[in-house]
């Protein structure tokens, strides 16, 4: 049982693509091997900035012989048919079998496909994998036609067993497979050949390449932590950055440097953002003061001066960056001291938000008016909400946000604090953008909630008014995210808002019905993720007050829970049966049976019992509905399940006696009305 080792050696692969690519290589190769009839014991994939590697252990030597049986023409078919069959199978007539069929006799061919050696299959499978590799972005280079993420330089492909290693003969676009590779670009540049995966990993290490990404990440993390710890400091955790940096180096060398004293008063987020975004540095914090005081950079090389040149260079680049940041920070603070955030926001009148929706200033004025209107409904002070909305986006004009757009909001908060605005107002500057995505935190502070809602509703109503709605995969203004933001703000704060009214207040040119149905679509997606099926939501959307999302979701949750019970499922069936019979009768008779059924015409015990049950349940349901306790209402409905089932079991609705029939149809109408109190059960599927 040989082992297979593959390495695809290229110019630097983008860090973000490496892990996925290694998995794709493993999947494509192992799937291909298995499909071609080979088996294997285990497989592992690896990646560094310059290579993807795959180790497959315990591969079968060859695929097994397989026999294919093919049915040919009948024995009495014209000669031509037989000739064609012989041609397609490559057999002669005497090699065919004749078998009895239902309608006479037919020729059968047995074709033996000989098993193929692993080499041949590996060569085919790897060639196909390279040619069809699913890189997110790939390129051509030189005069060739092959596509790879960056130029592919060599292919290592060997099968090894006790007898030794052999190269799998194959070639892709002029690159022939071999058994050699190279180590680190600078520290181990010479080619070497390998005989097995163990040999490969060991020689790479000697050539200053750590093959395993998790080993590189671990090395970086532990080395950086211990260097920080030795100084009484702590490394700021950043898993995403760690993975990225582990993908940027083959031989991680951790170097810790100091941040110039001039910059230590910058907000920690500014330091962290600047260092991470521009330099891929980790931040090191002083646990006592909470301040970021040092940085960690990860080099890809050991040098004779132990990294001194590298550290000095990095420190210099950082200082230049931070000098910019400090310059922005001080200019912004001066502007705020002299003119306030309102003054800073004034410049937004020159910035177009959208050519049909005016400037950013126009937009802010609309948001402020809307925030004021929303404020009392979310227990916020109207003056605070209005003022917060007026300054919340002022930092878009700040120099710091101009440089680091990702700090928008946060800088607004700092600057609002510096100006001495109320903490609620400062917080709103940061929080009104939230929630940004499905997993982002949802603000709870009333002023923040008011401004966040006003911001999103203004955007949605505005773009609806000018008919720039999302279509298909196109959503350039992130309106789906805005709608989900409104939904999460409403639900997580249990807000009782009439969205129709707010849409009208935001922009009366927008079709409230259409926008509301957009909200409902987003709500369906949101609730489906929480396990509430779409038909349940549809059943609740069909009810009045559907622009009150909190109410809508309360209905949906109660209904979903109810439908999971046996009573719920059966009651729905009973309701549907009642509704079907009633609808058919109403269509046929051209009348609506809703006059009120009379118990005195009830004949059988089951019919009387149903009257009794409905009379008993009705007040309970009414009371529950009055207090919007949909769970209790559905609980009361559950008591109807048995009487309804029994009624349908024993009673024929469409009786010959017209009086009885009418009364029974009216009784069904009561079922329909009563059971339809919480949701439109006709929408429930199944």
């Amino acid at each position: 049982m040989p082992d297979l080792l593959i390495e695809l050696f290229s110019e630097e692969i983008p860090a973000r693509m490496q892990a996925r690519a290694a998995q794709d290589l493993k999947r494509m190769v192992t799937d291909g091997l298995v499909e071609a009839g080979l088996t294997y014991a285990s497989a592992g994939a690896f990646h560094t900035p310059r290579r993807l590697a795959l180790s497959v252990e315990g591969l079968s030597e060859a695929s097994r012989d397989t026999v294919e049986e093919r049915k040919g023409p009948r024995t009495d078919a014209p000669e031509k048919a037989l000739e064609g069959f012989l041609r397609s199978t490559g057999l002669t007539k005497d090699q065919l079998e004749i078998r009895d069929e239902k309608k006479g006799q037919a020729y059968f061919a047995r074709i033996t496909h000989e098993g193929r050696p692993a080499e041949t299959i590996v060569a085919e499978v790897l060639t196909a994998a390279i040619r069809n590799f699913p890189w997110p972005k790939s390129m051509r280079w030189g005069a060739g036609d092959l596509r790879w993420v960056r130029p592919l330089h060599s292919i290592l492909c060997i099968l090894s067993d006790e007898q030794g290693a052999r190269v799998v003969p194959m070639e892709v676009d002029g690159i022939a497979a071999g058994d050699s590779t190279r180590g680190h670009r600078f520290m181990g540049p010479d080619a070497f050949s390998v005989t097995s995966f163990e040999d490969y990993e060991a020689k790479l290490k000697r050539g200053c390449v750590l093959l395993r990404a998790d080993e590189r990440a671990e090395t970086i993390w532990s080395e950086a932590s211990s260097q920080a710890f030795a100084q009484g400091l702590e490394l700021v955790e950043d898993r995403g950055l760690l993975d990225e940096v582990a993908g940027l180096v083959e031989w991680p060398v951790v170097l810790m440097g100091e941040i110039g004293a001039d910059f230590l008063d910058l907000p920690p987020e500014v330091l962290q953002t600047s260092m991470k975004e521009h330099q891929k540095f980790f931040s090191v914090r002083d646990p006592k003061s909470g301040k970021i005081t040092r940085f960690v950079t990860v080099a890809n090389i050991e040098t004779r001066d132990h990294g001194a040149t590298i550290l000095a260079g990095n420190g210099k680049v950082l200082s230049a960056r931070l000098a910019d940041a400090k310059f922005f920070w001080e200019n912004d603070l001066r502007e705020v001291r002299e003119h306030g955030l309102e003054g800073m926001a004034a410049g937004l009148s020159n910035v177009t938000f959208h050519n049909r929706l005016g400037s950013q200033s126009d937009r802010i004025a609309r948001i402020a008016a809307l925030a004021r209107e929303i404020a009392p409904q979310v227990s916020a002070d109207a003056d605070d909400a209005e003022q917060a909305a007026k300054v919340a986006k002022a930092d878009l004009r700040s120099e710091m946000v101009g440089e680091f757009p990702e700090l928008q909001g946060l800088m607004g908060r700092y600057y609002a604090q510096a100006q001495g605005l109320k903490p609620e107002i400062a917080a709103a500057a940061q929080e009104h953008y939230q929630p940004l995505g499905p997993s982002d935190a949802v603000p709870a502070a009333p002023v923040s909630v008011a401004v966040a809602l006003a911001d999103k509703l203004d955007t949605l109503a505005g773009f609806w008014a000018i008919d720039e709605k999302p279509t298909g995969s196109k959503d350039p203004f992130a309106l789906r995210r805005a709608a989900l933001g409104v939904i999460r703000l409403v639900l997580s704060n249990g807000l009782r808002l009439k969205l129709r009214d707010l849409i009208a207040a935001a922009d009366d040119r927008a079709s409230a019905d259409d926008l509301l149905s957009f909200f409902h679509d987003r709500l369906k997606v949101h609730l489906r993720a929480e396990g509430i099926p779409h038909d349940v939501i549809d059943a609740c959307i069909a009810m009045p007050g559907n622009d009150d999302l909190t109410l809508l979701v309360a209905r949906a949750e109660a209904l979903a829970a109810f439908l999971k019970t046996e009573d719920g499922e059966n009651l729905t069936q009973g309701f549907k049966r009642a509704n079907n019979i009633l609808t058919q009768a109403e269509t046929k008779d051209g009348v609506e049976y809703s006059y009120g059924a009379d118990a005195k015409f009830a004949e059988s015990a089951e019919e009387k019992a149903l009257f009794f049950a409905l009379d008993g349940a009705q007040p309970k349901i009414d009371a529950a509905m009055a207090s919007e306790d949909f769970g209790a209402a559905m609980g009361a409905m559950a008591s109807l399940r048995a009487p309804i089932d029994a009624f349908f079991e024993a009673v024929q609705v469409n009786a010959d006696n017209q009086l009885l029939r009418r009364n029974r149809l009216n009784l069904l109408s009561r079922i329909r009305t009563t059971c339809g109190a919480v949701a439109d059960l006709t929408k429930i599927e199944g």
């Binding site: 110019e11 280079w141 030189g142 130029p151 590298i310 260079g313 990095n314 210099k316």
Partner: protein, 306 residues
């Protein structure tokens, strides 16, 4: 290992002789205002078609919005790029590039040189490529790109393009913190000049001009003129009535595209282009660049059979 260079111009000279020694034609800057070395027809147009090509040159580049009145240590509205383009990209282009760093005194075994993903795209040229920004000790010193498309045309063969931001690179090599303090010629020359002696005043003048005084109505008019002229040039019949030869005027048309692009940059610096209009302007320049590329590939230099 060569000793360290001592001035801005020495770095340029070393790059020139290095790339000359590697077989590149050392061209001179294009005589028009451009935003980057890529705009030089030696790159934009020559990246198209099947003809092989190898060129290196300095290109003065202008980015009006980056003007800082000569005060910012790193930002300039006028700066130099060093540009290398080789078609087809040779298999050892990374090694050749590292050799150029050695030539200017950067020893890759003492520094941390990295190839960090950076996909290059020029919306105004309708061009894109994949490659990296090259980092030296955490600082971006070059752009390294394999051109995939230019002017909407697939590049076959693919060109390898290297772009060095000369001021930044030189500041690093020379250990200077403020660009204006950088020695331009040899610091021991009888008349030693710093970068600031050459460019401080012009940075100030152009910053004022670009941000506050350039006449926007005129710029808008010139933009439209360049656009119209480009179309007019390309619409002329291929056969020249005077000589009777087939003369497609791809380069003169492309000059107008370059002009339009620079005028757009100036308008942008004047702050008179809104976010939405911006896209429209970029689209208009791209349409010009694309039309020029379409024309170029029908010419001999563009690989069409003569």
């Amino acid at each position: 290992m060569t000793d360290a260079p001592r001035s801005f111009q020495e770095i340029i000279l070393r790059l020139q002789s290095y790339w000359a020694s590697k077989g590149c034609a050392v061209l001179q800057p294009y005589d028009m205002e451009v935003g980057a070395g890529t705009f030089h027809p030696a790159t934009t147009l020559r990246a198209l078609g099947s003809n092989h090509w190898a060129a290196a040159y300095v290109q003065p580049s202008r980015r009006p919005t980056d003007g800082r009145y000569g005060e910012n240590p790193n930002r300039l509205q006028h700066y130099y790029q060093y540009q290398v383009i080789i078609k087809p990209s040779p298999p050892d282009l990374q090694e050749l590039y590292l050799g150029s760093l050695r030539a200017i005194g950067i020893d890759p075994t003492l520094h941390d040189i990295r190839f960090v993903e950076d996909d290059w795209e020029s919306p105004t040229l309708g061009a894109w490529g994949l490659g990296w920004e090259v980092w030296c000790d955490g600082m971006e010193v070059s752009q390294f790109t394999y051109f995939q498309q230019v002017g909407g045309h697939d590049c076959r063969p693919v060109s390898g393009e290297l772009t060095y931001g000369l001021e930044r690179l030189a500041m690093y090599v020379l250990g200077v913190d403020h660009v204006m303090e950088m020695p331009f010629n040899d610091p021991d020359a009888p008349i030693a000049l710093k970068y600031g002696d050459v460019f401080r005043q012009t940075e100030e003048e152009y910053s004022r001009h670009n941000f506050d005084t350039a006449t926007t109505e005129m710029l808008l008019r010139h933009f439209e003129d360049a656009e119209a002229e480009c179309a007019k040039i390309l619409s002329a019949p291929a056969e020249d009535p005077r000589t009777g030869k087939r003369i497609v005027m791809a380069h003169p048309a492309y000059d107008q595209a370059i002009k339009a692009s620079h005028l757009f940059n100036l308008l942008d610096a004047r702050g008179v282009i809104s976010v939405t209009e911006r896209q429209a302007y970029i689209g208009r320049v791209r349409a010009l660049a694309k039309a020029c590329a379409d024309a170029f590939v029908t010419t001999e230099a563009g690989g069409a059979a003569a």
